[in-house]
Symmetry: C2
Subunit: 249 residues, 2 copies
């Protein structure tokens, strides 16, 4: 499928240690699919500058978009901003607009906008800000890399803000055919359909419940008519083999 | 921290499309941490042979262990086995022991061990089998790569089987200090501790509850005494700054 592509890069030692479970990849995967942007890969990496630079460079070169989460807070272990800047050879500077947003956010609270918190207004040169409706401190977009917070609620609010500005790809048609038999009994049919309809991806996902098992066959492609035709033909072939198959949904 | 290292590679279009949410990375991260094996990175990649080969080669070269999940079933889209074999330049052959396990598993059921299901007994030359207590079809280990099923219950049962045979690293000491203030107020202390105790990683994780907020500071290192000392010093400094900090746990 030729389409717009994206990669996700989750940055954080706490995910790799297991202390925190990532919730951003699955959520973003859904959003991207709905926008017709194909997620080609996701990586979870450590809070180490050289590592961040290497992966950001790699993913930025090979995808239309890169979305990162994590590492843009005010503490010493938040090194995503400077690493992404360095990956693109630009400097980091205190951003006036970002600083104003922080000032506005903390005004009237008992939280002091001290030098440490002001660090969250340091943005790579040439980047555009990403709004943060939750806690003000903005993310940013530099070239094709969108740098967002790690906290899921903040990351989601940031992505909701940038989604309308992203290019949209063709939203793939995805149909599921539920077969009431193990995948070993229909594998030859799946292969046949996959071979005949080159532009339809045919995925096979066995499932088990107490006393029951079956196979969810997922057909995905950019041409709706072709996917519908392939799914319909699959149903016919499965039934001809003597197994039940529900109509594609 | 010099320690044993591992990478996780989740293989499956269904994760990238968002249809299925990955549960394997978080679970494996916990297990590896408990074994003293440092997870350096995790990747989620597509069911495409060239992509699998490239990532497996890359991760195998740079880690003591690589753990994969997904793509070892009987259908045409299960291409992990042949891809890993090709990454190491070996051929795939029908494995007698694996076939016997499948025969044993299906004996007395109404499931036929047809040619398609026998494909699950195809194993790279020179690989050792990984037991599958759930559904018999084995995973395998080739060089430093452990190839497991994608279904979480099966993957977990496979990993439980191989865990005792893995080399154990030093289990890091991890202490958490809960500070009853925003991270912007303690960031300078965290940085100071991090600078003084080079071998202790100091992570800062702000949290929010209605009407409350605070910062969980996580100190991690291979030398228990040093981590304890760093955590204790951190508590003192936070309290001296006028904020509450719970003793490290």
């Amino acid at each position: 499928m030729a389409n717009l592509t994206a990669a996700i890069c989750v940055i954080g030692d706490e995910i790799l240690s297991g202390r925190t479970k990532d919730k951003n990849i699955g959520w973003l995967a859904d959003q991207l699919t709905e926008l017709g942007i194909q997620l080609t890969e996701a990586r979870i990496i450590a809070d180490v500058k050289e590592i961040i630079i290497r992966h950001i460079t790699d993913l930025s070169d090979s995808n239309d978009y890169v979305f990162t989460s994590g590492g843009i807070g005010p503490t010493h272990d938040d090194i995503t901003t400077e690493s992404v800047a360095q990956a693109f050879g630009v400097s980091v500077e205190r951003n006036r607009e970002a600083l104003q947003r922080l000032e506005q956010h903390y005004k009237g609270t008992d939280i002091v906008l001290n030098e440490v918190r002001k660090k969250m207004a340091d943005i790579p040169n040439g980047a555009t800000l990403i709004d943060n409706p939750v806690s003000a401190a903005p993310g940013f977009c530099l070239k094709n890399v969108y740098v967002m917070a790690g906290v899921p609620s903040i990351m989601q609010s940031m992505f909701d803000g940038i989604a309308p500005s992203l290019k949209k790809g063709t939203i793939p048609t995805r149909l599921t055919v539920q077969c009431q038999t193990g995948e070993g009994n229909v594998a030859h049919i799946l292969e046949q359909i996959s071979y005949k309809y080159e532009r339809v991806s045919v995925g096979s996902y066995p499932w088990f419940k107490p006393g029951q098992f079956g196979t969810a066959v997922v057909l995905t492609g950019l041409e709706k008519n072709t996917v519908v035709k392939a799914a319909s033909e699959l149903c016919v072939l499965v039934r001809q083999s003597g197994y039940e198959a529900e109509d594609a949904v």
